[in-house]
Symmetry: C2
Subunit: 73 residues, 2 copies
């Protein structure tokens, strides 16, 4: 088996209301945070030869609004 990590973020240029909310909250509390983006993280174990890309694109992300990266842990 191999353990993989999938990092899922809103597509660049799309509105990121969660990111905006976190940015405003941090600024209200005196922190100079900028370009805050909030996404999802999925980690799992799959058989070594598994095609993780197709799993992600078919079942885990919404390709219209999300980009992703796959890391092998």
């Amino acid at each position: 088996m191999k353990r993989v990590r999938i990092l899922i973020k809103p597509k660049e240029g799309l509105l990121d209301p969660q990111g905006r909310a976190v940015e405003e909250m941090l600024r209200d509390n005196g922190f100079n945070a900028q370009h805050v983006r909030v996404g999802k993280l999925v980690e799992m174990e799959v058989p070594k030869g598994e095609d993780v890309k197709s799993i992600v694109e078919k079942f885990i992300i919404n390709p219209l609004i999300e980009d992703y990266e796959i890391e092998e842990l």
Copy 2:
């Protein structure tokens, strides 16, 4: 400024209903995914000297139920 990535996961041993749901859905679709965990990802730009650890622990995670890692991008 520096760009940081915060990886937030449910604490080990705590129930992860989202992870369980994704695992079952993938298995129902014929994939042998195991130990699926679902968390959050926050990326942001902060001044170089900023204490990201305290930002995260005070404002971004729930320390009772979440663990986190900080990566500098």
